[in-house]
């Protein structure tokens, strides 16, 4: 009896040591430039021939609203606009997978349910003295049906940035025409 009782204690103490020792630390590459730094900068930045920085910021906030974002933060003195929106995150493939798991094993698999998408738009005067530059970055957090965070990631699809800048170009034009 005694020896049986001892076993779980040994197991528990080993487990607790393992648990306490697996505190994650910051990865060494977290705060260094990498091979994608320059490519990302180019993908996320465009130059606009606006006379004032305010003109570009106003056009940019218009696009954020067009896309259904709510403004979280603005600091025009340093060209900062931050917006976010909560959206559905249901993925058809995941739903199909969950149905298969439920039918075959009776398992209740958690699938992605909601997401928060954040965007920060940063403007600055161009080095050449003419026009302004805008760099936009997106990221998202996804929660599953159990309310647990299932994904946290940057959004780096080139097509998304191209489409965003097309919309911004139009908005800058409309702003210039005061429409």
């Amino acid at each position: 009896m005694n020896s049986i009782f001892r076993k779980p204690i040994v197991f528990l103490s080993i487990l607790s040591f393992l648990l306490t020792s697996c505190i994650e630390t910051i990865p060494p590459e977290a705060l260094v430039f990498n091979k994608d730094t320059l490519a990302n900068r180019q993908l996320q930045t465009r130059k606009f021939d606006t006379k004032t920085e305010k003109e570009l910021l106003t056009a940019a906030s218009g696009v954020l609203q067009d896309l259904g974002f709510n403004l979280d933060e603005s600091a025009p003195a340093v060209g900062v606009l931050v917006g976010s929106k909560n959206r559905d995150a249901t993925d058809a493939g995941q739903v199909a997978g969950a149905i298969v798991m439920a039918v075959l094993f009776g398992a209740n698999m958690a699938i992605d349910k909601e997401q928060k998408i954040r965007a920060s738009l940063i403007t600055r005067p161009s080095e050449t003295g003419k026009g302004h530059l805008l760099r936009v970055t997106f990221q998202r957090v996804v929660w599953n049906t159990q309310g647990v965070v299932s994904k946290i990631e940057p959004i780096n699809e080139p097509l998304i940035y191209q489409e965003f800048f097309e919309k911004l170009s139009k908005s800058v034009f409309l702003e210039a025409q005061k429409i």
Binding site: I26, L31, F33, N40, T137, Q139, I152
Partner: protein
């Protein structure tokens, strides 16, 4: 035999409670487990740059954070502060869902220089080791075209 067993169980339960209460709210609020004094932390987290241009400094900090894949959360020109979050999923696995690195960077003029201080949290732990801050200031030096000096 039975009473001995229940005593052991009681001891186990009590010791678990004692272990759980080791880290108090106060120790977490003041981050006492990091064993770093305010002076030590500042020497790790702060550098001085030879510039008086607050606006350009803040814009450069923002641009550097963006280069390091952060999304800006907020910025304040008057106080010279910027906060940003980096979400990374590059090492995603079954156990690892990616990480969130949150950083606040402040800049304030001191004489002819600007002192820039950064502090970061990795998921739910404070970042107190010197290396990540050295990396950050190396990145910032490149963007500022200036040398980062240790703050005395």
């Amino acid at each position: 035999m039975k009473t001995i067993l229940s005593f052991k169980k009681l001891f186990l339960v009590l010791s678990v409670f004692l272990l759980a209460s080791c880290e108090t709210t106060s120790s977490r609020l003041f981050d006492t487990s990091t064993n770093k004094s305010a002076v030590e932390l500042r020497s790790i987290q702060a550098r001085a740059f030879d510039t008086k241009d607050q606006n350009k400094t803040l814009r450069t900090i923002i641009a550097t954070l963006q280069d390091l894949s952060f999304v800006i959360d907020k910025a304040d020109m008057e106080l010279g502060t910027v906060s940003a979050t980096k979400l990374d999923s590059s090492n995603q696995s079954l156990w690892n869902k990616g990480y969130a690195l949150r950083m606040t960077v402040s800049s304030r003029p001191v004489g002819n220089r600007t002192v820039i201080r950064a502090n970061a949290q990795f998921n739910i732990t404070p970042v107190v080791e010197p290396k990540p801050y050295q990396d950050f200031f190396v990145a910032l030096e490149k963007a500022m075209f200036l040398t980062a000096h240790q703050v005395e």
